[in-house]
């Protein structure tokens, strides 16, 4: 539409593997239509071109893990209209939040011969721990369908229609037998948000929680069942402290188990 200014979108990377940004480029069927209706104003992985801000929508991949990233996320917040946190690093700190349960100095000494060159925070933080986030899209990686729906909803100024159920419902919809009941495997499905299409149960294994906690999870009921299915000591805590390990509900569940073990 000539004369109508397209909304501008900026995509930023923080500490992450790039997989969620890649899933933007993996919208192979929609990408060319998408750039017909929005202006990609800043997206380093895709283009050298950069339009000056402020931008209508900012999409942030990755978690906050350095002092510099704290400053950068504040700048970005003041430079975008709507801020979308993209993927489990951005919504919960991601896999690198496993450091939150350990001593980072020990890690740095272990990984780098010159730890003094490295500047890093003790913990890996979700974006929302530092600035207001308008929309969180979970997943490691995010679902392309949810990304399109989230973005469309923001542009249409409406509430996005995202799955609200636990992963269990996706198994039921696909007609998959419950891996906990049928095969006695531990599975985080009952306390994990739907969104991936139940790919782990579909491949004959339990869910390890990429899409973060299901909001109405019943931890008191679930934790004993999970413990009962463990195949090796510590498996339940390991599953919880994985991709979404720093999400408050998973932190709480792991804590419940560790406290039980102490008693």
């Amino acid at each position: 539409m000539p004369g109508v200014k397209k909304p501008t979108i900026a995509v930023y990377k923080f500490s992450s593997c790039d997989g969620c940004q890649l899933n933007i480029l993996n919208l192979e069927d929609e990408l060319l239509d998408l750039v017909g209706v929005v202006e990609i104003a800043y997206f380093l992985e895709a283009t050298r071109a950069m339009l000056p801000g402020p931008y209508d929508v900012g999409i942030v991949e990755g978690s906050v893990t350095t002092p510099e990233e704290i400053e950068r996320i504040k700048d970005i917040r003041s430079n975008v209209g709507t801020l979308i946190a993209l993927g489990t690093c951005a919504t919960a700190g991601g896999v690198q939040a496993l450091r939150n349960f350990a001593d980072v100095e020990k890690y740095t000494d272990l990984v780098y011969p010159h730890p003094e060159f490295i500047e890093t925070l003790e913990k890996s933080h979700a974006i929302s721990e530092h600035v207001h986030v308008d929309l969180e899209l979970w997943g490691c990686p995010i679902s392309k369908t949810q990304l399109l729906e989230g973005l469309t909803a923001v542009l249409q100024d409406r509430r996005p229609n995202l799955p609200q159920s636990s992963l269990c419902q996706e198994c039921k919809l696909k007609g998959l037998p419950c891996v906990m009941v049928a095969y006695g495997m531990p599975c985080l499905g009952p306390i994990t948000k739907a969104g991936c299409g139940a790919i782990c149960p579909d491949n004959g294994r339990g869910c390890y929680g990429c899409f973060g906690p299901f909001i109405n999870a019943e931890l008191e009921a679930f934790v004993p069942v999970l413990l009962d299915k463990q195949r090796y000591p510590g498996e339940a805590v390991h599953m919880l402290r994985m991709i979404s390990g720093n999400a408050p509900l998973f932190v709480e569940a792991a804590q419940m188990i560790l406290e039980q073990e102490d008693n």
Binding site: C17, G19, C20, L22, L32, E45, T47, V111, P141
Partner: protein, 429 residues
């Protein structure tokens, strides 16, 4: 102007966060830094204490563009630690998943990351404005790679089906066979890409590299093999650490790699093509002959041509592997938990990726070491820039900058991979 600089604080169209700085004084290059400021993520730290079967799910997260490479090197190293040999069917399926990742990653790089440099565009999106059919076909090819990864592994970014011992589940034979028409189309597109890549105008620049890649006599190595160096000949895969070491430099959160005598070396498609040309499928060789390819190919910008040829090889192998796919028996082998250690390398889209693990008798990781391809190439990237920079100083500033940036992009650096790694090597000061 006595002082001049080429400064690209944030490189575009690469995976991860890095910058480039070249300082020039009185016409002489004084300083070159490929600055990796991608924050560290400490994978090798938090792999400690994890159960072996959790490792491939964690290492996949090192890189969203090449998660399969991380899974495959982890899985093979761990299987060695347990003394388990996967079945022929399981190995063939791993190659299928791995080649699909090469398709996805190479097509992305050829058309969306490096391609715009050679066609004078800022991005593939901009290119789509003038040549929509070129970008649409590239996206279709990339999608075939991604969809095949999803059919084998559950999803394309961070697949879930591969495990230590084999696979969680055999993918459905019919579902894979359904890909054959698309793969035939993809093969044609890849052949066209080779012809197109050969017509592009590459900067005139050659380097005498030490090429390093995995090598097998019976096929173009991807999943396993011995290491082959153009300087040192064959090296056993498990002797990787005896030949290559890493050092930590101040301007980088990634460790830089060197050959054992302190020289730099190159891994990736260009190295593979030069070392393993004889092992390409006949049709891929024919495509190389048609464009009059002469080896050794020593121009790093022409990694583009190597990627295009490898995409042909990848499509050919996917077709063959699917036609021969007849899964039988258990998809995964039983493992007996014993303490041990194992190492393995595989060929990630951007080069050799080495892993080593030490496991205790309850199956927990005691020690992990990962050497990603981009970390190995970093020292080489800086060395190339030292050779290139004096030649481009005469050019207008924007063109000089672009030529240097383009060189780094041609390496297809995966900066998220290159950071946060561990070494036992203590740097001598």
């Amino acid at each position: 102007m006595a002082k001049q600089t080429i400064n690209v604080p944030a490189l575009a169209r690469v995976e991860g966060e890095g910058g480039l700085y070249i300082g020039v004084e009185h016409g002489e290059v004084k300083e070159i830094k490929v600055n990796i400021y991608e924050p560290p993520r400490f994978f090798e730290g938090f792999l400690q204490g994890r159960f072996y079967q959790e490792v491939p799910d964690i290492t996949a997260r090192i890189c969203g563009i090449c998660p399969v490479a991380y899974q495959m090197s982890s899985i093979r190293a761990l299987e060695r630690a347990f003394g388990v040999t996967p079945t022929a069917e399981a190995t063939a399926l791993r190659k299928l998943l791995y080649y699909s990742e090469w398709i996805e990653s190479h097509v992305l790089h050829v058309y969306m990351l490096q391609g715009p440099d050679l066609t004078g565009h800022q991005s593939a999106i901009e290119l789509a404005g003038v040549a929509p059919e070129v970008v649409a076909s590239a996206l279709r090819s990339k999608k075939i790679g991604n969809d095949l990864m999803a059919a084998v592994g559950g999803r394309s970014v961070h697949p879930v089906n591969a495990c230590v011992g084999g696979w969680y589940r055999w993918p459905d034979q019919e579902a894979l066979k359904a890909f054959l028409p698309d793969l035939e189309w993809g093969l044609e597109h890849a052949l066209e890409t080779v012809r197109w890549a050969a017509t592009l105008d590459y900067p005139d620049f050659e380097v005498d590299y030490e090429f390093v890649a995995l090598h097998r006599d019976d096929e173009y190595a991807i999943l396993d093999g011995d290491l082959l160096s153009s300087r040192y000949g064959l090296i056993q895969e498990t002797d990787f650490e005896k030949h290559f070491s890493e050092k930590h430099v101040q301007h980088s959160n990634a460790l830089h790699s060197n050959s054992v005598d302190g020289t730099t070396y190159l891994v990736g498609p260009l190295a593979r093509l030069n070392l393993n040309y004889d092992q390409l499928s006949p049709q891929a060789k024919q495509a190389a002959e048609e464009i009059g390819l002469e080896l050794p190919l020593k121009n790093p910008y022409k990694g583009m041509i190597a990627r295009a040829l490898e995409t042909v090889e990848a499509y050919l192998r996917c077709i063959e592997l699917i036609k021969n796919y007849h899964p039988e028996g258990e998809s995964a082998q039983e493992l007996l938990l014993t303490a041990g250690s194992g190492s393995a390398a595989s060929e990630a889209p951007r080069g050799t990726l080495y892993h080593r693990y030490q496991i205790d008798d309850s199956g927990l990781v005691e020690y992990a070491r990962i050497v990603p391809p981009t970390a190995q190439n970093l020292a080489r990237m800086e060395a190339d820039l030292w050779q290139l920079a004096p030649k481009v100083l005469e050019l207008p500033h924007e063109e000089a900058t672009l030529t240097c940036e383009h060189l780094l992009r041609a390496y297809d650096p995966c900066i998220s991979c290159a950071t946060h790694f561990l070494t036992l090597t203590v740097e001598e000061l």
